[in-house]
Subunit: 294 residues, 2 copies
């Protein structure tokens, strides 16, 4: 039995695959950030239904599985890194008699020497390049929305650098903030997202977030509207900052969950709608890339 897995901070996804990497079956488990057991125990527990039916020969994992608090610590590959360099930086080990391959993370520094890191998103980008080889020609920006939204520049098939935006995590943290404590009823969410996007174009978020609350107290907007406003304001702020940093001068390809990439596609004001790729398809293709032999 061969298994592919994407083990992030918030969830573990496992696929039993056949020789070609096509998925036969699927399991899920807790993220690296949510474990009560050791990563080793948690992985065995998650795999138990399959282990009861057959012997594990090979398991290939990407994401936080290779972080310091993961299953084993895998290195970072330095940018620029093409799929081949990334694959060669992987950690190879034995795990309860099976061949374990743990994908490396990627590290980069910007022109000012500031460091950035990713663990997991690189598998989706290399997967996208495997599924759509034409995307590797020339220069292109890949945007992977999520808890830590990543903007990566790809030139001639290599990831040359990237920047992390805290958009998704800020949105999650703000769900417990005073901004939504008013729990105002009434009004629908309609227009909240667009209002947030528009507000983001008029200045940074620190002085704009409170509008989610003041509009509830003064303008009859409801709680649902405020959540949409926060989503629009944060995504819009991410785009404005990326624009300011000169990041989206290139064609943008969005990778991720369809509902989230649709929000970004709406927020990106471009003559042509950006290409959107499914995150699950990309991560599976990326694990296939990682699992390949040179």
């Amino acid at each position: 039995m061969r298994v592919f897995g994407d083990w992030g901070t918030t969830r573990l996804r496992l696929w039993r695959v056949e020789g070609t990497g096509a998925p036969l079956d699927r399991l899920t488990g807790p993220g690296i950030g949510q474990l009560r057991a050791t990563p080793d125990e948690a992985l065995r527990e998650a795999l138990a239904p399959w282990l009861a039916a057959g012997r594990l020969e090979r398991i290939t994992l990407c994401g936080m599985a290779g972080a310091r608090n993961g299953l084993r610590e895998a290195p970072y590959a330095d940018c620029p890194a093409a799929a081949r360099q990334w694959r060669r930086a992987a950690l190879a080990a034995e795990w309860h008699g099976a061949a374990l391959r743990l994908g490396a993370g990627l590290a980069c520094r910007d022109a000012q020497g500031r460091p950035d890191v990713m663990r997991g998103e690189e598998a989706q980008i290399y997967g996208a390049l495997r599924l759509r080889p034409e995307l590797g020609a020339g220069a292109r920006t890949f945007v992977l929305p999520g808890t830590h939204s990543k903007w990566a520049t790809v030139r001639d098939g290599a990831i040359t650098g990237f920047r992390t935006f805290l958009t998704g995590e800020l949105y999650a943290l703000l769900q417990g903030s005073s901004l939504l404590a008013a729990r105002a009823e009434g009004g629908d969410a309609g227009g909240g997202f667009a209002a947030g996007l528009e507000r983001a174009g008029q200045g940074g978020p620190v002085g704009a977030l409170f509008e989610a609350r003041s509009r509830q107290l003064r303008d009859g907007c409801g709680d649902a509207w405020a959540r949409e406003f926060l989503s629009g304001l944060l995504i819009g702020s991410e785009l404005a900052e990326a624009r300011q940093a000169g990041l989206p001068g290139l064609d943008i390809t969005l990778i991720g969950d369809a509902a989230l990439t649709a929000r970004y596609a709406r927020a990106i004001d471009a003559p042509a709608a950006p290409l959107r790729l499914d995150g699950d398809a990309c991560v599976l293709a990326g694990l296939g890339e990682l699992d390949a032999d040179d």
Copy 2:
């Protein structure tokens, strides 16, 4: 017995005062956002030590005491509002046989019609104007750092408008974020605040916050450094946004806790250090203003 109180979201502060408003004694209790009992019960419980010793004649409160979920709902006074308009907008009622005066909040709209509100900070500003009448002449910006940092413009003694920055609440929320989950040891905090301020000058916070984590993972910075970096980045972002919105074109007066106003004074790059006033002294003077009879 006469009592002054400032009842905010996170804490209740009560002063027993004599006829001139000079404080004789002090008590504390839970904030409006932390109550398990009703506000009425919570206030009686906090006052119990004094109620056992004498009869309450008059109690004057500012802050979230007048919010929808407070003791009673007090109105908002619309800007521009001088101390007299604010005092006249207060709610007067009876509370268990005592005369209750609940300060109004302030509401304003900016040039684009966007609403903003405050409850409590206005007492500190009117208090500052009472303590230092010369500050009421001409135009001036009052900055009150905190959970919800307020930038208020005062012209000829009236608060003409203000904007809320979520700086302090974002800082608090980020203490539970993935940015500090690495818990890196080593390195001291030295330089973290300055690095955050500098980073804020190079673009917005959404794409800069993650540096608190990547520096721990890649540059040997510790957890303490990361917290200082976050403080500098958020305060610096607030200042950059305020500058962009044209707010600090005027002389700045800082009101608040000494440790926090010192951070802002350091962050404000001005030829002369901004005037700093103690928040407790200002709120007491403001309650005296609220308690006065026309």
